[in-house]
C-alpha cells in the first residue's frame, strides 16, 4: 500500500506525543509514592487526598475566576479584531494585526517581566486581577485565529440583504452575524479558558500571594512525596481539557459548516 512507511511513522509519532499523558492515570492509581515500574497495587487514596488540601481548593478557585474572566475578555477582543480584519480594509492593518498577534511568538517570560516592572513601578499590588491582564493578552491571538475563520466564511451579501430590508447595522449584527459566528465564539471561549487554566509563567510572576492552579502545582514539584497526588490532579485536568477541547472542536466545525465554508482543519 502507498504510504505504509508514513503510516507507521505517524503512529510512532502519536505514541511519542501521548506517552507522557498515558502514564498519568497509571501512576495516579498506583499504590506507591515512588513513580517507577513495576507497579505495586491499585489505590484511589491520591484522589481522596486532593479534596482535603485547602490550598489546592483555593488555587482552583483563583484559576477558575481568572480563566472565566480571560475567556470572556479575550473573546470580546477577538470578535472586534476578527470582524475588523475580515470585513474592512483600513490603513496600518498589517502593522496593527502584527502587534496584536505578537504574543503568539513572544516568549511568555518577556511578557511577564515587562508587565511586572510596569505594575511595580505604578505601585499596583499583584493579585489575580493582574494575572487576568496578562492572560487576556496571550489568549487574544488564539481567539482571533479561531474567530477569523468563523467571520471569513460569512457571506457579505447576507448582511447587505438585511440592511436593504430595513435592519440597522446593530440589529443586523445581532440577528444575522452573531448567530452565524456563535459556534466560533463558543469555541474561542473554550480555547481561551484552556489557555488561561494552563498558563504558568505569567501567573507565577503576577499572581502575588493568590496562587493559581499551575503555580500551586509547580510549588508541589519540590516535594517528592506529593508526586502521586499531582499525578491524580493531572489525570483530572487532562480529562477536563480533553472534554473542553472536544466540545470546542465540535463547535468550530459546526460553525464552519453552518456558514457554508470548507474545513481547513486545526485550531491554529
Amino acid at each position: 500500500m502507498r504510504g505504509r512507511g508514513f503510516q507507521i511513522y505517524a503512529i510512532c509519532y502519536l505514541i511519542f506525543l501521548y506517552a507522557p499523558i498515558a502514564l498519568l492515570p497509571i501512576f495516579a492509581f498506583n499504590n506507591s509514592t515512588v513513580i517507577s515500574f513495576p507497579l505495586s497495587g491499585f489505590t484511589t487514596q491520591w484522589f481522596s487526598q486532593l479534596w482535603t488540601d485547602t490550598s489546592l481548593l483555593l488555587a482552583v478557585k483563583h484559576s477558575l475566576i481568572v480563566a472565566v474572566s480571560v475567556s470572556i475578555l479575550a473573546t470580546c477582543f477577538g470578535v472586534f479584531a476578527a470582524r475588523a480584519t475580515t470585513r474592512y480594509a483600513f490603513p496600518m492593518k498589517q502593522g496593527l494585526m502584527g502587534m496584536i498577534m505578537l504574543p503568539l511568538v513572544l516568549p511568555d517570560i518577556i511578557i511577564a517581566v515587562s508587565l511586572l516592572v510596569v505594575l511595580m513601578q505604578m505601585g499596583a499590588s499583584l493579585s489575580i486581577l493582574t494575572v487576568i491582564l496578562g492572560h487576556t493578552l496571550i489568549a487574544t491571538p488564539f481567539t482571533i485565529a479561531i474567530l477569523n475563520s468563523a467571520f471569513q466564511s460569512l457571506d457579505k451579501s447576507l448582511e447587505e440583504a438585511a440592511i436593504d430590508l430595513g435592519e440597522t447595522p446593530a440589529s443586523t449584527f445581532r440577528l444575522i452575524i452573531l448567530p452565524l459566528v456563535m459556534p466560533g465564539i463558543i469555541s474561542s471561549l473554550l480555547i481561551a479558558f484552556s489557555i488561561s487554566l494552563d498558563e504558568y509563567i505569567i501567573a507565577a510572576f503576577l499572581s502575588g500571594t493568590e496562587a493559581t492552579l499551575p503555580v500551586y502545582i509547580f510549588a508541589q514539584f519540590r516535594f517528592p512525596n506529593k508526586v502521586p497526588v499531582i499525578m491524580a490532579l493531572g489525570t483530572i485536568l487532562v480529562c477536563l481539557s480533553i472534554t473542553l477541547l472536544t466540545i470546542a472542536e465540535y463547535f468550530r466545525r459546526r460553525g464552519i459548516a453552518k456558514a457554508g465554508g470548507k474545513d481547513t482543519g486545526g485550531f491554529l
Binding site: G3, F6, Y9, A10, L17, I21, L23, V34, S36, F37, P38, F77, F80, R83, A84, T85, R87, Y88, A89, F90, K93, L96, M97, I100, L102, V105, L106, D108, I109, I110, I111, V113, S114, L115, L116, V117, V118, M120, L133, T140, D198, Y200, I201, P214, I217, F218, F221, V227, I230, L233, G234, L237, S241, L245, E249, D263, T264, G266, F267, L268
Partner: protein
Amino acid sequence: MKRRSFLRSEAGHGLLMLSPTALYATIVMAAPLVAVFVFSFMTPGYLKVVWTFTLNNYAKVFSSPIYTALLGRSLLTSGVVTAVTVLTAFPIAYFISFYVSPARKSLWLFLITIPFWTSYLIRVFLWKVILGYNGVINSAFLGLGIIHEPMTFLLYNMNSVVITLAHSYAPFAILPIFVALEKIDRSLLEAGQDLGESRFMTFIRVTLPLAMSGVVASVLIVFIPTAGDYVTPTLVGGANGQMIANVIQLQYFKLGDYPMGSAVSITAMAVVTAVALIFVFLNRRFLRGPK
C-alpha cells in the same frame, strides 16, 4: 466635518472596530516592552530603579561569561530543538496532507493538537518522571535486564531539555507545514512526474520549494518561544541545562535588580530576533510568493 466622514468610511469603521484590541495590546504589551527597554539603561537599585542613564547593564551582559554562556546555550538548545521538531514534524504534515483521506484530516490534526493543550507543567514534569534515575525508562530497562545500572545521561542536561521541548512544540511545527502543503496544486506534482522526474526528484524540486513558506513559519514559531522557555530548563535542565529565562527570573525575583533583568531580556530578544531575521533572509527566495 472631515473627521466625521472618515469615521463613517470603510477605513474608519475598520480602525474603530480594531481599536479596543489594538489599544489593549498597546497598553498591556507594547508600552511595558518600551518600559523594559528604558529600564535597561537605568541604574539598579533594589526593587526599584534609579533614574540615571547608564550603559553599565549592557556592559555587564556582554562582559560577564555567565550571561554570554547562557545566551549561547539558549540559542544552541532552541536551534537543536527547532531542527529536531521541524524535521520530525515534516513527514507527519506530509502524511496528513497527501495520504490521509480529506474526511479524516481534521481528526488527525485534532489528535495532534490535543497533547499540546493538556497541562503543560504536568507534561514537562512527566518527562522528568520518564527520564529520571528511578524513572520509567530506567526502571523498565532494569526490570527487563537490558541495562544493569540506571542511565544518568537521560535527565538534567541538554538532551532532556531538547526532548521535552520537541514534545511540547510538535503541533506548532506540524500545522504551518500542513497548511503550506495543502495549498500545493496537486496537478503540479503530476506534471513533474509526467515530464520524467522521479517521485523523489518531484518532491525535491516541486513540493519542497512550495512548502518552504510553511517550514520557515514553523521554524520561527518554534525557535523564538523555545529560546525564552523557563519551565522546561527549570524542571528537567539541571545545572547544565539552564537557559536565559532562568537568569532573567533570577534577576527580577531573587535579586530584585530590574535594570539588569531588563538589559538581559532586551539583549536576549534582540539576539533571537536577529537570528530569526537572518534565517528569513536566507530563505527569501522561497518566500516571495507566486509571480
